[in-house]
Amino acid sequence: MRLEKCWFCSSTIYPGHGMMYVRNDAKIFRFCRSKCHKNFKMKRNPRKVKWTKIYRKLHGKELPQDTTFELERKRNRPERYDRNVVEDTVKAMKKISETREEREAQTLANRMRGKKTQQRREDLAELQQGIHLVKAPTALLEEPSLTLPKEKMKVKVSVEQESKAMES
């Protein structure tokens, strides 16, 4: 039993799932589900289709190259059964998948770094620009000391944000 990779989306194909298409030049394409197969029939290039693993790796959304992928590389030579090797492999599989998850989480964190502050800045700008949607201009004029309305939550958040924005 061998776990294959879907040609289109690179997900694992477990036994009993998916389908194999054999072209007349003897090239085999395996698909995990009909979604991938249909995309293939539409002649879509998986490198351009956003939800595939290939696209994500190509565009830096996910960990592209790593030594942890080496263990899963396909080997065509069958190994002679050795109990110790099997035991070590099972242990290694666990450890390596843990490491890989850590590294992927790190990649995600790196990609998302600075997102929070940027989001805050954008939110503040939107609040300041669009406050007339929430509070009538006359109401703002009634309280000239405040540039933003008196609503408790909003004032708190905005003051905090403003001070933080000014700090940063």
């Binding site: 039993m1 036994p15 009993g16 389908m19 194999m20 007349n24 085999i28």
Partner: protein, 133 residues
């Protein structure tokens, strides 16, 4: 599934190019033939100057179907075309080479010889006859 009147490519060098299925021998009204089944077909298109002429009746074994197979391990296999290999009454292949991939299911007794015959390489493609396990 190959029904009567289905055209299929001939995947060997017996001289026929396209054949049309007539019957499945041995069953009175059998409609469907699949990979590994022997069929009776009429040659519809043939390589010129070679033994099978157009409208000659031959027997063949189905090597590939677009409908494909469902394996016991759950894997479904589909091929690119419908193709058959011409055989004689004993089950020996009429040609000497088989083109394209062939499913293991066609190793039935009348096809085993064809499938095991070592083909030459076709146009530089390494495995023109591939056993799909």
């Amino acid at each position: 599934t190959i029904r009567p009147q289905t055209y299929s490519n001939v995947a060997d060098n017996s001289g026929a190019r396209e054949s049309m299925r007539i019957r499945v021998p041995g069953a009175s009204n059998r409609q469907y033939a699949s990979i590994g089944d022997m069929i009776v077909a009429v040659v519809r298109e043939a390589v010129p100057n070679m033994p099978p002429k157009g409208s000659e009746v031959v027997r063949a074994v189905i090597a590939r179907t677009r409908k494909g197979l469902n394996r016991d391990n759950g894997m479904a296999i589909r091929f690119d075309d419908n193709a058959a290999v011409a055989i004689d009454r004993e089950g020996n292949p009429k040609g000497t080479r088989v083109f394209g991939p062939v499913a293991r299911e066609s190793r039935e007794c009348h096809f085993a010889k064809t499938v095991s015959s070592a083909p030459e390489v076709l146009r530089g493609i390494r495995r023109n006859r591939m056993m799909l396990r």
